[in-house]
């Protein structure tokens, strides 16, 4: 006897899961469109390489148009999987970029997006670092430019051991600057001089998310130059969101802004409260 495919429980379960994933993706994209973000299609196999990062692909696309100083920030997003060469895996993502504008304007937009993304779910954990503060701290510890570059490279690769060792060679107790601190403690201790807009940015997020300060958090990409952040959900072993402020020169133009990537699979677990 022939069964209608939808009556096969395993298939129906699989179809339902796909339906949920697509519904979530549609919700994400609708939310961005409602907030005035423009979609920018990017090529997953451009420049004879698999796409590992949307930011460069977006800017590469925008560079094809004549340049005019934007009147306020340009809000764009791109969707699709990114490739991880070390694991040969593709991960579904939505990438959001706010290009140009003042830092305060851009941070306010990121605030709005993060609060929207965290709404109604289990309390997540935001980890924040700042490359400018880290650079100043390493400089104050007496590290040479080459040593600072080496420390940054170690941290970008997740290697805290060698970064701390290099720093401890100069200032034995200085490895303590890599300790993760709760934002509530950090803001009162005032160890690092942060621009005031960072304080107000983080203050607005604290009602919905735990916030930690970690100077060893430097982001994934070498073009980050200011604030970097990652959002994690309880019992989800992958980041939900990763991003930061950047400045990069591409195609003869200089671009600055702030952006982040939503990892759709992890974000779905977070929204559904699945551990």
């Amino acid at each position: 006897m022939m069964h209608y495919l939808g009556e096969v429980p395993e298939l129906q379960q699989w179809l339902n899961k796909n339906l949920q994933q697509y519904q979530l993706l549609v919700d994400l994209l609708t939310g961005l469109l409602d907030r005035g973000f423009y979609p920018v299609p990017t090529d997953p196999t451009g420049h004879q390489n698999f796409r590992m990062d949307h930011t460069l692909a977006i800017i590469d696309t925008l560079n094809r148009f004549p340049y005019r100083e934007p009147n306020g920030p340009l809000k764009v997003f791109s969707t699709g999987p990114v490739y991880k060469p070390t694991s040969s895996q593709w991960t579904e993502t939505v990438d959001v970029e706010i290009l140009g504008g003042t830092p305060a304007e851009s941070l306010a937009l990121v605030d709005d997006l993060l609060l929207w993304l965290c709404r109604g779910a289990t309390r997540p954990h935001l980890v924040v670092g700042n490359l400018a503060s880290l650079h100043r701290a390493l400089d104050a510890a007496g590290l040479t430019d080459l040593e600072i570059t080496t420390v940054m490279s170690h941290l970008r690769n997740g290697n805290r051991v060698d970064a701390e060792a290099l720093l401890a060679n100069r200032v034995p107790a200085s490895h303590r600057i890599f300790h993760t601190v709760a934002w509530s403690h950090f803001k009162t201790a005032g160890t690092f001089d942060l621009p005031p807009e960072y304080y107000s940015w983080l203050e607005k997020l604290t009602p919905l998310s735990d916030v930690s300060w970690d100077l060893a958090s430097v982001g994934t990409w070498p073009y980050y130059d200011g604030l970097v952040f990652s959002l994690y959900g309880p019992n989800i072993g992958q980041p939900l969101i990763r991003g930061g402020q950047f400045r990069l020169a591409l195609g003869g133009r200089s671009w600055q802004g702030i952006g982040f990537t939503v990892f759709v699979g992890a974000y779905e677990q977070f929204v559904q409260g699945v551990s």
């Binding site: 997740g158 805290r160 051991v161 993760t180 994690y232 959900g233 309880p234 072993g237």
Partner: protein, 212 residues
């Protein structure tokens, strides 16, 4: 720390890690004759997962284990950017060396047998040595004896195996020891992960956790 899962590489690291575990966590969950690979958390003690060294970083990156213990040589040979290296445990110390039937530095086109093709390739490029790599998974000392390669790049502890095959160290490429790695998401969201790291570091320094 009862909800924590620790992935540990089989072999030498597992044996030497026992001292750190017993000093910081307490009861060692593995019976002496056991071949079991998974010991769930008990309420008093973290869970333990025993796996091949090259799989440890993957298990931690995927969040299957919160933390892992693996040799630096393996981390450099199979880099996994989605983990944090949070402590050098200073156990299972060894070196990755280039060795041959004599102590002469390799000149000209040479053939080198190794189970570390990534580390070996970086070494050859750094020193501008024209070398052909032969990838083997074990018993590297046999390669020069059988004429398969004039040099080997391998891990060395005391050097006894090299001596028994009439091989000589030419140069040390890197020093290695066991590193504690952590899943970044769990490192930030589970306070037990940072506590476990701090306990391990204190024991390594020979200091009680409370005063470390």
């Amino acid at each position: 720390m009862s909800e924590l899962t620790v992935a540990i590489a089989k072999g030498r690291i597992l044996d030497s890690f026992r001292v750190l575990w017993e000093g910081s966590v307490g009861h060692w969950p593995i019976p002496d004759t056991s071949r079991q690979l998974w010991f769930p958390p008990t309420g008093q003690s973290p869970g333990m997962l025993i796996a091949r060294a090259r799989d440890i970083a993957t298990l931690v990156a995927l969040g299957v284990a919160d933390v892992g213990v693996v040799g630096l040589d393996v981390l450099r040979e199979y880099p996994t950017p989605d983990v944090l290296e949070v402590a050098d445990l200073e156990i299972s110390q060894c070196r990755v060396v280039i060795a041959g039937t004599h102590t002469d530095w390799p000149e000209g086109p040479v053939r080198i047998a190794t189970k570390y093709p990534r580390i070996a390739d970086a070494f050859l490029k750094q020193h501008q040595i024209a070398g052909e790599l032969v990838s083997l998974s074990g018993s590297l000392e046999l390669a020069p004896v059988l004429g398969l390669a004039s040099y080997i790049i391998d891990i060395v502890d005391t050097g006894r195996t090299l001596r028994e095959h009439d091989l000589f160290e030419v140069s040390t490429i890197m020093a290695s020891s066991a590193r504690l790695i952590a899943n970044p998401a769990h490192y930030y969201t589970k306070p037990e992960v940072q506590e476990f790291r701090d306990r391990m570091v204190c024991i390594r320094k020979g200091a009680p956790y409370a005063n470390c």
